[in-house]
Symmetry: C2
Subunit: 557 residues, 2 copies
Amino acid sequence: MAKKVVIVGGVAGGATAAVRARRLDENAEIVLIERGQDVSFANCGLPYHIGGEIEDRAELLLQTPARLKARFSLDVRIRSAVTRIDRGARRVHVRDLAHHREYTEDYDALVLAPGAAPIVPPLPGIDHPAISTLRNMTDMDRIKELVERGAQAAIVVGGGFIGLEMAENLRRRGLTVALVEMLPQVMPPLDPEIAARLQRELTTHEIALHLADAVTGFEDQGGRVRARLKSGAVLDADLVVLAVGVRPESTLAREAGLTLSERGAIVVDEHMRTSDPHIYAVGDAVQVRDPVLGGETLIPLAGPANRQARIAIDNIFGRPTRYRGTFGTSVVRVFRVTAASTGLAEKNLRQRGIAYKKIYVHRSQHAGYFPGAHPMTIKLLFTPTDGKILGAQIVGVAGVDKRIDVLATAQQAGLTVTDLEDLELAYAPQYGSAKDPVNVAGYVATNALRGDEDFIDPAELDDDARPNWTILDVREPREYEAGHIPGAVLIPLGQLRARWEEIPNDKPLVVYCAVGQRAYYATRILRAKGLHPRNLAGGFTMYSLCHAQPPVPGTCG
Amino acid sequence: MAKKVVIVGGVAGGATAAVRARRLDENAEIVLIERGQDVSFANCGLPYHIGGEIEDRAELLLQTPARLKARFSLDVRIRSAVTRIDRGARRVHVRDLAHHREYTEDYDALVLAPGAAPIVPPLPGIDHPAISTLRNMTDMDRIKELVERGAQAAIVVGGGFIGLEMAENLRRRGLTVALVEMLPQVMPPLDPEIAARLQRELTTHEIALHLADAVTGFEDQGGRVRARLKSGAVLDADLVVLAVGVRPESTLAREAGLTLSERGAIVVDEHMRTSDPHIYAVGDAVQVRDPVLGGETLIPLAGPANRQARIAIDNIFGRPTRYRGTFGTSVVRVFRVTAASTGLAEKNLRQRGIAYKKIYVHRSQHAGYFPGAHPMTIKLLFTPTDGKILGAQIVGVAGVDKRIDVLATAQQAGLTVTDLEDLELAYAPQYGSAKDPVNVAGYVATNALRGDEDFIDPAELDDDARPNWTILDVREPREYEAGHIPGAVLIPLGQLRARWEEIPNDKPLVVYCAVGQRAYYATRILRAKGLHPRNLAGGFTMYSLCHAQPPVPGTCG
């Protein structure tokens, strides 16, 4: 007998699941139930239609119910809400929101793809009509309309993906934009010194940053909104976008008695099966395995949602594939700058007491002699014993997405930093270097692993600590004059062999240059003289990023 | 006692070796001997200075002897040729070309980095002053001067990396350009149907292609050059660039009695050591291991040369690192199009009788709803039993270099096509898709591996074979009208469930769409009806590329 699959939620994971089910079984009955107006819309594109970069709204509708019906013989029901799961009878209760009627639908297998809902903090004045979250096309239309009716000023609350994308796009539309973020940095998946580069870019584009601050309440001011912040600041705006995070939409699952995590996510096994063997769940509502350290986590991303949907359907149709967990590989563009990460951040490792080593490299995305070279910063975190990749973060103007995908692939394949030395990548002057930035990261990390280089974290050179060190700058005089670490002694690398005896020897020695490479050469020279210099990780570039922002105790660098 | 290392050749591998040696040993005596005028110049950039994209000639000089002396305490001797190696005495004989004197230099370890020399075929008239190869800055200056003195027409002989880059750059300078290539395709590392996309781009930019043809001789025509081709064509030009390939510069090694390969390359072990334990060799002159199939090969590329140099020096200074072989990962830009490859091509596999499967996918480099999406074609070759990656080729306008590096990393890590399904890559609409092209290649290849899809090679549907097949086109009528395979029956995918019984059943059935995805859906529907359709690999797109060019017996598709 033909199998009947009911899928709840028709956006990323749900739509993928439905189409995959049809491919695996031409005779299955497949019902896709979506609460909203649209299925399979491009939610990652919403901010860019508001900003105008995606001009045509219709581009965002990747599928229509009619096309899904014609091509895949799917039974798609929009504006329909599943209100209850009767697990014993394998039946869901559906409310047709357009026609105000209720009915039931039996299933052999049920797939939950409800997603995650934007968190709306219970603040005074939160229900002001100019305050909106951004989850779907309807939200997008509302915000866009406010912009087009002449909004001059906006407040974005939350500095994650959606917050940054909205700040950029509202600014592109000419609004003045204030961004309020509770943490002392934007983009929580990144470490603060990497996020600092994004903060500089936001500031360059006149986004007013209110970091380590929070809205305490909203007031109406004749149709406009006034936000009061914990710091005492007062911001007025014509529209407010709330993007403070999401929570799994697991009410239906909870009411059905399915096992949830402490954070309210649906618990699934590696086949994406919930605690009920006939019910699967995928996407932003489910808890996933952390494949780096083990344990469970919650990472809402579109790529993993699609993958999970495929795996759930495979298992329903008798193909026992497994989901191995989510590494959290992600990328964001903020004006001209791109930031990306994969695996764990340093702050996660510290929090969990995991031993690690880290290095920074600063390299251009392609040969420096070819026009258009821009530096990028790579931060690489790895185990101190065997050099397994724990995580990587990259920020720069170009080539960032490529290197994070190479590092993500390397991490997922279980490579070590020493394997990165050997990676043979494609080189032409437009695209890379004979030693790609990924290779260089491998070289520096392997040096650190073997003890060829002994790094010091830029965070350790704060105002209190600096006097305890002899700090040697091996750059050229014009670089030193343009800015240097307070108290640093200048001996350019080219003069070091002749002048090394000038270095005071009453304190431990740290050497730095712009990015760490000349300092490495210098430490090799000085070690041969019997000294024990440390190399400032990431050089003056990282020192500046690290100490430019309000210091973040225990996390900077 | 301090070790003395003599390095012969100061460009890619030689310069890297010298600098690495200093890092490993501050006290070593390091002598770098270079025959030419410059050390460490950017040879991959030479065509772009002729074309004007790299404006400043000085950008190409990555290091100067003075800087190498000051920073690394290297003894650099330009315009100096090593004429003989006295292995017994561990001594080289050096000719100072500037001062016409000879002397000897002892060594503890000798590193040969002589590179490869452009092949100059012994054709009548080959010594015409307007005919040049392109190996160094002097060659570049000569060609550039001819352009600037008003050259109107150029002939480029050879369609590999340098040939294509020169054709593009001379065209950019406004010259009419004819390209002559012995093979029936450009870019020999690629399979012909992938190279066909480059040929289209060259033709679009008015490069006259003479494929499967050869120059038989040159004549002087009042200072200009007349080339006669095997086909009978006659070409006149103001300058000719010869780029028909390179041969290892192994004369010095051969005269010293070191073991050479049949093709004249220096034989080294995995430590880059030659048959003499005190002599190492790196770069374009050495034979390398083929890490995919085993055996030995010859692949001149800058990245591997650098890596080999590092490994040779490591071993000289007591760090026993190993070179694992060269995968041949490479990329080239031809006007707006980028082509890249890694591992083996289909033609290599056929030649060597290796069993393989292949798939094509056509996807955009990023989300289709974001402006600027361009399709790319990925060809993936893998073992038919366990899905190990044998090779990959990609051609397209954007994002090609990223995907080849991800696939190269996957191949080098030993991943299978099924692992590509699972790869978690960074997605934002500017950079990728929730299902990245690499994931999609993994899906399609895994389908082929499991027998979910049964592909037919576009090359099999030639004029002779087509009448033996029922050919079903499942695209929309407007696509069919714009062009279709002769004799194809049209039933759009959306009507297939209702109309499948119209399909003639007297011959085997092949189904196609634009790129293969709708045809896959169609084959799933038809299989459920009891039919046994095959999916045309790469769809109408690949069929058109494959059959647009002069057919290449036994290799097309």
